[in-house]
């Protein structure tokens, strides 16, 4: 993170550093523009972008002709290229949507027709035998098979986009919550944040759960976000080999979710979820007992091997829905420029699933909307390439030996469950965006995500983080701005003789 310069007028300020904001930042950095990103949390990827199934959707769930359908199919198609440029771990596993009865079969046929219309490649209806060939342990009488669906690492994706944007000159301002937006007579926006104000010619609202609030600040006050929570379980990697592809039920169209499904993660865990529950607050990430019970019940229908001892964590995400509970289903993405109310502002509201898949096509749409107003000059220095730090865990012994030879920190395994080394943790701390929180390290290198949940390595990692960033114990944060970790030293050393003799005794 960099210090703000109040004399600067940005060409464009992007509000929100989720996957969409980060994709827009990167896309705009292809042009000669001075770009800033304002994020209320201490890092990228703190809300919806981090809290989902990690699936690159194919695009058969969305209404033909909608932005959702178009961008989802495009995002899926172009992902090979993006993943190559940004070094994002992903895998085209394909996906099963399994059915049990005649109603399910009808809906699967409709879904296939929708998918075909949307241009989703290779959809087919398959029988029980084929299900068993693809995923021997998945239940269901028949299914739709979607070969283009993939699983990806949503943290790496967002971080990759943001790091690459930063490399191409975008400035990120974390823990800067936008509180007001005003325009002066020249049409320049002044954006007030909790840490000072910024000036900009253009505003992009990609604030996700906060997008209706920002929209209102821009004067476009017709939107309401209906937060809709989805809870998950994460299962131990020991279960991973039992589920090679995501397995979904036939969704209930009223619910506005995809139904409780099982998804292998790119790192070999399995997710069960998400539930779908409209809630009042846009930051209540609670998991609840009744939903946990529901997840196990519904999940077991598709995958009858859910045992409590395999559960390593729960989490929840919140969908920023434009469709209220009474209406259900999906409202299309709002991506607009409202010159009559807020010229030079691109307003994105209700970017829910398939937002992760659609992020790059959305970012290209934002550029198109800006280019309708002014001509953008190509940045000759734009470099689309970002490389991840080499990971130790997935290498052969010979490669591991070579990594350690080149950098002895690769031989210091700090996270024992995931075999994450000191080298990877240091690289996460010193990433181009800067890391200020313990979860910032976690999201970037997977340390603490294993079955012991940091029981062994969290103390070492927080110590390293404080050392490397010069942070005092009482200033270290876990995830959020007020999420303090420590109150300070247990005992403060003073140079009195009594203390010295105490220390000597301790040493004995």
């Amino acid at each position: 993170m960099i210090e703000q310069d109040t004399t600067v007028t940005y060409d464009c300020l992007i509000i929100g550093a989720g996957v969409v904001g980060s994709a827009i930042a990167r896309e705009l950095s292809r042009y000669c523009l001075n770009i800033g990103v304002l994020e209320k949390e201490p890092d990228v990827c703190c809300e919806t972008s981090a809290r989902n199934s990690g699936v690159l959707h194919a695009g058969f769930n969305n209404k033909p002709g909608s932005l959702m359908a178009r961008f989802c199919v495009e995002g899926n198609r172009m992902f090979d290229q993006i993943a190559k440029e940004l070094d994002i771990p992903y895998k085209r596993t394909g996906k099963l949507i399994v059915g049990f009865n005649e109603d399910d079969r009808k809906r699967l046929e409709q879904m296939k027709a929708t998918g075909d219309k949307n241009g989703v490649p290779g959809l087919e209806l398959i029988d029980k035998e084929r299900i068993h060939e693809i995923a021997p342990l998945v239940g269901g009488e028949f299914a739709m098979w979607s070969p283009s669906t993939a699983i990806l690492d949503p943290f790496q994706y967002t971080v990759g986009l943001a790091e690459n944007a930063a490399k191409n000159g975008v400035s990120f301002f974390f823990s800067h919550e936008v509180t007001a937006i005003e325009t002066d007579e020249d049409g320049i926006y002044t954006v007030t944040t909790t840490k000072g104000s910024f000036r900009s010619r253009w505003i992009v609202n990609s604030a996700g759960l906060g997008s209706a609030k920002i929209s209102t600040m821009l004067g476009i006050d017709e939107y309401t976000i209906y937060p809709c929570r989805g809870e998950y379980f994460i299962l131990d990697q020991k279960i991973g080999p039992m589920l090679p592809v995501p397995a979904y039920p036939v969704p209930n169209p009223k619910e506005g979710g995809l139904g409780i499904h099982l998804t292998p993660s790119i790192d070999g865990n399995v997710f069960i979820g998400p539930s779908s529950e409209y809630i009042d607050s846009d930051d209540d990430y609670s998991v609840t007992q009744h939903t946990m019970d529901l997840l196990i019940k519904d999940g077991s229908r598709i995958f009858p091997y859910l045992k409590k001892e395999s559960f390593i964590r729960n989490f929840a995400g919140i969908r920023p829905k434009l469709a209220p509970k009474e209406e259900g289903g999906y409202h299309d993405f709002v991506i607009e420029r409202r010159d009559e109310i807020a010229p030079h502002a691109i307003n994105l509201v209700g970017i829910e699933s398939p937002g992760l898949t659609s992020a790059v096509p959305i970012s290209k749409e934002v550029v198109r909307l800006i280019e309708e107003v002014e001509t953008l000059k190509t940045n000759p220095n734009f470099d689309p390439i970002r490389r991840r730090t080499e990971t130790f865990r997935d290498k052969t012994p010979d490669e591991q030996a070579e990594l350690i030879r080149q950098n002895p920190d690769y031989g210091d395994v700090i996270c024992r469950c995931e075999n994450i080394t000191r080298a990877e943790i240091l690289s996460a701390i010193h990433n181009p965006l800067g890391v200020h929180t313990v979860t910032g390290v976690k999201y970037r290198c997977r340390a603490m995500m294993g079955r012991c949940q940091g029981g062994y390595c969290q103390a070492k990692i927080s110590e390293l983080l404080m050392q490397e960033t010069g942070t005092k114990k009482e200033d270290l944060r876990y995830c959020r701005e007020d999420g303090w970790m420590f109150t300070g030293d247990v005992r403060t050393k003073t140079e009195t003789d009594a203390d010295k003799s105490c220390e000597k005794e301790d040493a004995l």
Binding site: A401, I404, G411, D412, G455, K473, Y478, V490
Partner: protein, 414 residues
Amino acid sequence: MNPVHKSVVIIGGGPAGLASAIRLYEKGIKDIVILEREHQPGGILRQCIHDGFGLTRFKETLSGPEYASRFVDQAKKLGIEIITDTTVIGLTKDRLVTSASPNGLLQYQADAVILAMGCRERTRGALSIPGERPAGVMTAGVAQTYVNLKNTMVGRNVIILGSGDIGMIMARRMTLEGAKVLAVFEIQPYPSGLPRNIEQCLNDYGIPLYLSHTVTGIHGKSRLESVTVSEVDENFKPIPGTEKDYDCDTLILSVGLIPENELSLKAGVTLDPRTKGPLVDENCQTKVPGIFAGGNVLHVHDLVDFVSLEAERLADAVVDWVKTQELPECEIAVEADGPLGYVLPEAISGEKDVTFSMRVRRPMKNCRITISQDGEVLVSKKLKKAIPAEMEQMVLPHAKLKSKNPVKVVICSE
């Protein structure tokens, strides 16, 4: 990569690893190495700065670091090779051990491998406690690491869930360092830790222990602000209407330990669903010949003294294995029954006296452990009480055995 040959590779330099290494060395098996991931040997004892260790093994009370240093000093004196800062990342059934350290990747081909990796703590995720995800929720061992090894204070107002020993010890430790420990809540109708810890760590400091209670809500967006606690019924289901909120900034979990066997699984070792440790015979040999297991990786112990003793017995068997590449066949199955959670070992040869280790599932009073075969009692022992927190041991002299039929171990009230 050319593997280095060793008679015995010991994975883990905690109490089990150290005790077995010393015994091996003293019995003439000197071509051995201990691989330890920390900078110093001693294992979890290094952070257990309270006393109460060694009463059985040394007939005196020591702190954890003192107990460990008895073994570390002896190992060093003997010249046993202890390689620290080294994590074992691979193990095959043919006993090829792969380890990583800043000095490089090293492989060992061992005649015998001793698994001595200890255990890890059960986490919030494994319990699936409902609520938000603020900072300030941690296991007792993590709190202990911060406070005792890192001089770092983790909170001011503390609730403890689970009456495991480490949780109670941390209740006292946090109190001594100025924190306010409001209460300890235990879901079971009885404490899960040792009676002496209830006395010395809770009662002496006026910290209340509530049985049949659990945490049913965690509140706080950034840092923990409060927890909801409910009473539970006999099926551990929260009773509606009994919810009570406690303001606190720290929730310490002491809700069980799980033997750390990910490496064992890589070698194809079969685990016992009851102990979560390997299935072993009287020699502490796993189902994979030449791979042995002892200490908390085998089953969770309440006293380190028994870890050392178990590791020493294990080493005696490893000496025979290294010399002859075979051990007496263990054909006699051992079956546990009734309220016993488990009995170790699960198979014996009948050719030597065997110490059985066992634990009850629920507290019992005036009870008797009997070991029988073919319907006949071989040995039995009367106990005033048996509690889940305390492991029981009993020796079966081999001369008592009459056949190769299964041996039954039962405990029943009198």
